[in-house]
Amino acid sequence: MPKIYGAVTINAERCKGCELCVIACPTKVLQLQPKEVNNKGYHYATVVNAEACIGCASCATVCPDACIEVYKVIEK
């Protein structure tokens, strides 16, 4: 069975904290920063469960502000 490793990076300054990525993620990788805000004053999205990421890009696909980059490795 090939094993899938995924990862995301988030442009926190572009993020408006809409939470759509958090909801779209099938493996609960993301969360909004509970305390910190970015320069715009938004609780931005952040990775809380990196190991669970499967690189499906669902988060990036629904992101209205194109804040998310997605990486994926398939290990045979």
Partner: protein, 256 residues
């Protein structure tokens, strides 16, 4: 496998499209406009339209579309985008010409220009964002506002006896001989976004092939205008907007 080993350019499967620039979009958090802008920018780059496109921006929330997608743009007067696009395409027939319009722009003040451009089978793509409300001016009733829906100008809900019926303009456009492709999509889930992107790519291909007018309606959300969280707005859109405005192709005369 460590995060730093995964995060390297050769493993990147998704990044902000090149044609979507670094300007922060002025849209509210969770606004559908951002998603649609993003997929348009992706298609323009992926399909090789970057150096051959004129976009026509509306009046409404998307008035600044030209600030975010790096192609040539003309900012139209309210409702007149299809008239501009008509001339731009006829005078520059090898370009991809598309309009980007909201429900007020397209289905209220610009109904005449929209219907006549479509009826002339202008080889343009009309991207129509329907969120049932006037976002930019502060949430007033749109022609597509649902019955009972509260807006700044229907504070007790839209009443048919006072305000008439929600306008199914895409169904109307599908009836015209000049349209080749009329479809209604949404961008609320990853699967929906992928379908919407395919639809816009199809519409652009139609325009370049001279098949007539293509209309891609996107049921959007207006979390601020609807006074909901972005996620709740997505759910409400699917349940209520989607009930009145059925998703899917209304007309597709292009056999693939």
């Amino acid at each position: 496998m460590k995060q730093e080993d995964i995060i390297c350019p050769e493993n990147r499967v998704y990044a902000k499209p090149r044609l979507l620039n670094d300007n922060t979009m002025h849209y509210c958090p969770g606004c559908s406009h951002g998603v649609v802008h993003r997929i348009i920018a992706e298609i323009l780059d992926e399909e090789g339209y970057a150096d051959n496109t004129v976009g026509v921006a509306p009046v409404g929330c998307a008035v600044f579309a030209y600030k975010y997608i790096d192609v040539d743009w003309v900012e139209a007067a309210h409702g007149r985008a299809p008239a501009l696009a008509t001339a731009i395409k006829r005078l520059n027939p090898d370009r991809l010409v598309f309009t980007y319009q909201g429900d007020g722009d397209l289905a209220a003040i610009g109904t005449g220009e929209t219907i006549h451009a479509a009826n002339r089978a202008e080889n343009i793509t009309i991207i129509f964002i329907n969120n049932g409300i006037y976002g930019m001016t502060g949430g007033q009733m749109a022609p597509t506002t649902l019955e009972g829906m509260k807006t700044a100008t229907t504070p007790y809900g839209r009443r048919i006896d006072l305000n008439g019926y929600p306008l199914n303009i895409s169904e109307l456009l599908a009836k015209l001989d000049g349209t080749c492709y009329v479809t209604r999509q949404s961008v609320d889930t990853p699967a929906a976004v992928k379908k919407a992107k395919k639809a816009i790519a199809q519409a652009f291909a139609n325009s370049m092939a001279g098949r007539g007018t293509s209309v891609v309606e996107i049921l959007g959300t207006c979390a601020s205008g609807w006074k909901m969280s972005p996620h709740d707005a997505n759910l409400w859109m699917r349940e209520h907007m989607g009930e009145h405005y059925q998703l899917g192709d209304l007309k597709n005369e292009v056999k693939q």
